[in-house]
Each structure stands twice: as C-alpha cells, then as structure tokens.
C-alpha cells in the first residue's frame, strides 16, 4: 500500500462517513459503510480487531493465543536480528513435529529474554517452524499484565505436571533447570551453570519418552549485568530476587532496556531416553546422572560458543 493510495482512501473514507451521517445513519454504521473506501489490508486489520473485540479468537486450553503471539512477534524479531544479532546453529536438532524437551542454560537477571530468543530462533531458522512452550517462573503469574502476556505467547507456570501434560500433547516444551539460581547468578559467574534442580526435567522426559534437546545460549548474560541484589526491594516487590544493574533501578523504566550484546544459540544433539522406558523415572541415580550429563553438554557448548562469539558487544 503506497502513501498516496492510503491518503486517497482516507480522504474518501471521511467523505463517505460525512455523507452517511448526513443521511441520518448512526455514526458507527456510517463508518462501517464508508470503510469500503479503505485499502484491503487496513480493512482486514479492522475486521480482525472487531472480531477479537467480539470474542471471536482462539486460545488453547493453556491460554496460548497464536494470533496474539504473531502480533508480538515482529518486536521479538527485531531484538533477534538487530538488537542482539543472534546466530543460531544446530536448529535441525529440534524435532519438526511431536514432543520434545529443550533444556537450556538461563541468565539475564532482570528479564530472561533467552526463552524468547530460543523460541524466535526456532521460528526463524527451522525448516518447519513451530511455537515453543516455555515453563515460566511462577512469580511472573502473580504480576499484573505479565501474567496474561506470558500465557498468551505460550508460557506456562513451571510445574512438572504442566510439562508432562504438554509433552503428552506433543508440544515442544522449554525448561531452564537452573531456575532463579540461573537468572540471579553474579556477574563474575555469568558463564558458569548453576545446579540443575532435582532432575525433574529428566523424570518428565523419561515418563513421556520425549527426546531432550540441550541448548546453549551465550549473550543473555550481558543484557542486564548484575552488580548486586537488593533484598529490601525484593521483599517490597515480593520478588524472588531483585537485581541491581548499571541502569536499573537508577534510570527507572529506561533501566529496563537490555544492553545490545551479541548472542549465539546452539542446539546440541538430541538425547533419546526412550530405551530406558517410563519405569526408569523412579531411578533417582539415573535422573541425577542424566541431568549432570546434560548440564556438562550445555556447559561445554557455552564455552565453545563464547570463544566463537568473540567480543561481547561488537
């Protein structure tokens, strides 16, 4: 749609609207009729919006709203392409269909964008793009706006029950076994993976027969360099921890703008656990063993990609 065409359409729209109102139509109906003058793309958008406002949109049983996610996607794509210049490798290790459990390292203190970027990486680079369902720290669901934004773009409260149900429905699930310990690690330890919880993700993978795809993300460590934590502020906000960065909270909302570091994401070879069978989920030693093996895989991939990336910002 070029500018002159749009301007012409708008002018005709106003003319028709005025004529309609003069003919005694109510303004809403006059606007609907005058809309014929508008370019098709704009009409489609208005139509879609009207349908959504009338409740005609789809959310799955988890509250994932694909249309909403698609609308938010360009912003994430901008971050992926221009802000963080993400390079993704090994994307074909992600299954094109059926269940799969992506396990990744976690960092980024204030707002862990790593989940978002892994998701965009798969949508952008995979021959058969698909949405991922990240398990999100529960605290996010206590917060106004973030709570429904998260679920609408595919986030699900972190619970083994949710992971299992999603995998049984053949979704692509993403977990961060480091959890809050990962996002809240001190800047000096930024590339070192924390303990991997209690191996719950291995248990879920065993029970559902889902392959585990270890993923390493480098770059999220620098977006909000954590200088320290404020326990007092965290208590006021009810947050699990509250990082202090060079810009947050000193610059207020501006402090929420992440630094433009350079990122790499690598999907490692999938780990198929189906040979063990679902009963093996009871075997605690096996859980810790596999969990530790996957942690090591991701750790060495993080170091490799760190070297490949070179400078953090340029």
């Amino acid at each position: 749609m070029n500018a002159t065409e749009a301007a012409g359409g708008a002018a005709e729209f106003v003319q028709r609207l005025r004529a309609g109102v003069n003919d005694g139509l109510d303004p809403m109906e006059a606007a609907e009729r005058a809309a014929v003058a508008l370019p098709k793309r704009l009409r489609d958008a208005v139509d879609r919006m009207a349908s959504r406002l009338a409740g005609d949109y789809h959310e799955d049983e988890w509250g994932f709203d694909e249309e909403f996610a698609e609308a938010a996607y360009p912003l994430f794509e901008f971050l992926y392409d221009y802000w963080w210049r993400v390079e993704t490798t090994g994307v074909t290790n992600v299954p094109a269909h059926g269940r799969g459990l992506i396990v990744s390292n976690h960092s980024g203190s204030l707002f862990p964008f790593d989940a978002t970027m892994i998701g965009v990486g798969i949508m952008r680079e995979h021959p058969l793009p698909r949405w991922t369902r990240p398990l999100v720290l529960n605290w996010a669901f206590e917060l106004p706006f973030l709570s429904f934004f998260m679920r609408k773009v595919g986030g699900v409260p972190a619970s083994p029950f949710n992971a299992r149900r999603l995998l049984e429905q053949n979704h692509l699930v993403m977990v961060f076994p480091e959890g809050v310990k990962g996002t809240g690690k001190p800047f000096a330890d930024r590339y070192r993976l924390q303990r991997f919880g209690r191996g719950g993700f291995v248990e879920v993978a065993l029970r559902t027969g889902a392959p585990i795809i270890p993923a390493a993300v480098v770059g999220a460590e620098e977006i909000y360099p954590m200088l320290g934590q404020s326990r007092a502020l965290a208590r006021v906000a009810g947050a699990p921890f509250l990082p202090l960065t060079p810009t947050f909270p000193w610059l207020g909302p501006l402090g929420l703008i992440p630094l433009p570091s350079r990122w790499r994401i690598e999907f490692c070879d999938p780990v198929d656990l189906s040979e063990y069978g679902p009963e093996a989920a009871e075997d605690k030693a096996l859980l810790f063993d596999v969990s530790e093996r996957i942690r090591e895989t991701i750790q060495s991939a993080v170091y490799e990609n760190l070297v490949k990336r070179g400078s953090a910002f340029l």
């Binding site: 014929v36 009207a50 406002l53 009338a54 049983e61 988890w62 206590e142 429904f148 409260p157 029950f161």
Partner: protein
C-alpha cells in the same frame, strides 16, 4: 444392582441441583424409588419424588434415612451460596455438621452401596503458581485460604474417613467447577450479567464453567456408575474471562487488584455470594483449570459442551450480544443491508 431397581435418596432436593437430578433420575427406568430430603419443599412438583422435610443437621436424620432404605445416597446438600431458609451464617453448619450427621445416618443403612456428594473444585484454590490442570490427587497442595475452602476441606476429610471405614460402600466426591446457565440464580451468573463488569487490571484468568446440563448429566452418571474417590467435574478446555465478557458483549471496568479485592468483595455480598466472595476474587484473578479425564474415562460421562461452547450457549440463551463494530467487508455489509433490521 439390586432386583427391583435402585432406591435413591437426594439431600438438598429443593436446590436447583437437587431438583434437576431428581428430574433426570425420574426418567431412568433402573431407578425404582426417589426420595428428596430438604428443609423446604422444591419449588416445582417433582414427579416420582417423595419429599421428606428434614434437616440434615438434626440427629433425627439417623432415624429417617435408614427407613428410606437407599441403595444410593446423593448428597446435594453442600451449599455454595445462601439459599432461601439457608442464610449465610448457617452455611458452615449445613456443610460440615450436616455432612457429619448424614454420614452417621448412612452407616445405619443396610442396603447402601454408594454415596455420591456434590462437592466443589474450590478445594484446589486459585493460585498463580498452580498447575494449569489440577488432577484429583492434588487437593490441599496449597493452604486452604477461605472459609468455604476450609469447610469443603473438612467435609472431604469426614467423607474420606467414612469411605475408609465402610469398605463396602463406594464413595464418590464430585468436585464441580462453577456452573452457569441462563436461568441460574447465582452470584457468578449475576456477575456476568452486570451492565458493566468490574475486572482486575492486568489479570485475565483461565476459567472452566460447567454447563448446567452437563452438571446434572455428570451427577446422574455418577449415580449410575459411582467410582471410588474424588472426580473433577469440568468441561474440556478453558476460556479466559476477557473472552467470556467479549462474547457476552459486556463492557468491563478494570480496577487495580488491591482495590478490586475490596470492591469485588462488597459486590459479591450484594450478588449473594456471602462468604464466597474471597474465593470469587481469587478465582477471577488467577483462574483454575481441572483435569476431567477421570470423569470421562471412569465415570463415563463426556461433557457435551466444552468451556467455550458453555459460554456461547449461555450468551445465546440469555439475550444476544451486540457487536460494537461488525465486519467492514463489502460482502458482509451487503448481506446486512439486505436483511430486515
């Protein structure tokens, strides 16, 4: 099944759910006798149902119930909201003491082979961090926060104890998600029918409302095929509050949630929710989803309406919604222009 058919006794028969169940059972030829117990007679005449005026809180029930000689006892006397002759302050007594008395009476019924109770999914609570779908073994994962939750928790423990001691009796605790239907006089329905609906700013909970028809269907199915333990009664899928209100064409008034808690509480009392308003505030902030596989696979009841269809049916039957803006495509407009308005 005993020769000569099932004898069924329903407590709380004057309530909407009790009456509807009695109607459904009256159509079932395998049920030979239906008795309904309550403190007041049902509003409409129920054919084939003998009404017995009694209060389950009164020990007299121990003499009445064995005389009725039931095969199946259906406890519909668990009250969610105040009803005529059941004011807010008596809910705790009716729910907890009433259930205790009723179970004591049930121990004396010789033929009794099943007890089915119409309980509530409120026992799971509404929590931000909760699993998106509660299964039956997840009750009491979180502290019971509200008065109603504690009552439900207490009566469920009595119920579990009874089930453990009376191994020969199958005890089914049905955990219902809130029910909606156009004719239902209930706080949640009144809430959805408000001219402007207050919501909590920045929250859009996932809800499961059960269609009145499915609620009765599930109860009747459990009477015909009781299973041991708890069973969730919930539709397939979930629906968000925003979507419900948009489908219903209701304007909303989002209020920051610390203030909304107070305001919704006051509103809840006006809508007749009594003590249940705090459950309502949490439900309308964090929502709740229940897994219904046990209902479908073991009880053998498949809800006819999923979460969205329930709401669409409710909206269609309680007056059509009006779209603020309809389609702006020429074809659609032509269709509209051609239709008599």
């Amino acid at each position: 099944m005993a020769a000569g058919g099932n004898r069924v006794v329903i407590t709380g028969v004057a309530s909407h759910w009790g009456s509807e169940l009695a109607r459904a059972l009256a159509r079932d030829p395998s049920v030979s006798y239906i008795a309904g117990v309550d403190v007041r007679p049902p509003e409409d005449d129920l054919e084939r149902t003998e009404f017995i005026e009694a209060d389950i809180r009164n020990p007299v029930i121990s003499r009445i119930l064995p005389g009725l000689d039931p095969d199946v006892l259906v406890h519909c006397g668990i009250v969610w909201y105040p009803e005529p002759d059941k004011p807010a302050r008596s809910l705790h007594d009716i729910n907890v003491i009433g259930t205790l008395q009723l179970l004591a009476a049930a121990e004396k019924c010789e033929r009794l082979r099943a007890v089915v109770a119409r309980g509530s999914a409120a026992i799971y609570g509404s929590e931000a961090a909760a699993p998106s779908f509660f299964t039956e073994d997840m009750a009491r994962r979180y502290p019971l926060k509200t008065r109603f939750q504690r009552d439900i928790g207490e009566l469920e423990s009595y119920f579990d104890n009874f089930a453990r001691r009376q191994g020969g009796i199958t005890c089914t605790m049905l955990r219902f998600q809130p029910e909606i239907g156009p004719g239902l006089d209930q706080p949640l329905v009144s809430y959805l029918n408000l001219p402007v609906v207050p919501t909590q700013l920045g929250f859009d909970p996932r809800l499961q409302l059960i269609h009145a028809e499915d609620a009765t269907g599930a109860l009747a199915a459990a009477v015909a095929n009781p299973v041991r333990g708890a069973v969730n009664v919930a539709p397939d899928g979930t629906i968000s509050l925003t979507k419900i209100l948009r489908l219903a064409g209701r304007p909303t008034l989002p209020i920051p949630h610390p203030v909304a808690a107070m305001l919704l509480g006051r509103l809840g009392r006006q809508l007749g929710a009594a003590d249940l308003y705090s459950d309502g505030v949490l439900l309308l902030r964090y929502g709740r989803g229940c897994d219904n596989r046990r209902l479908k696979e073991e009880v053998g009841y498949r809800p006819r309406f999923d979460a969205e269809a329930t709401v669409r049916d409710f909206v269609a039957k309680s007056g059509a919604s009006r779209r603020l803006v309809s389609s702006v495509h020429p074809g659609h407009l032509a269709r509209r222009a051609g239709s008599p308005l």
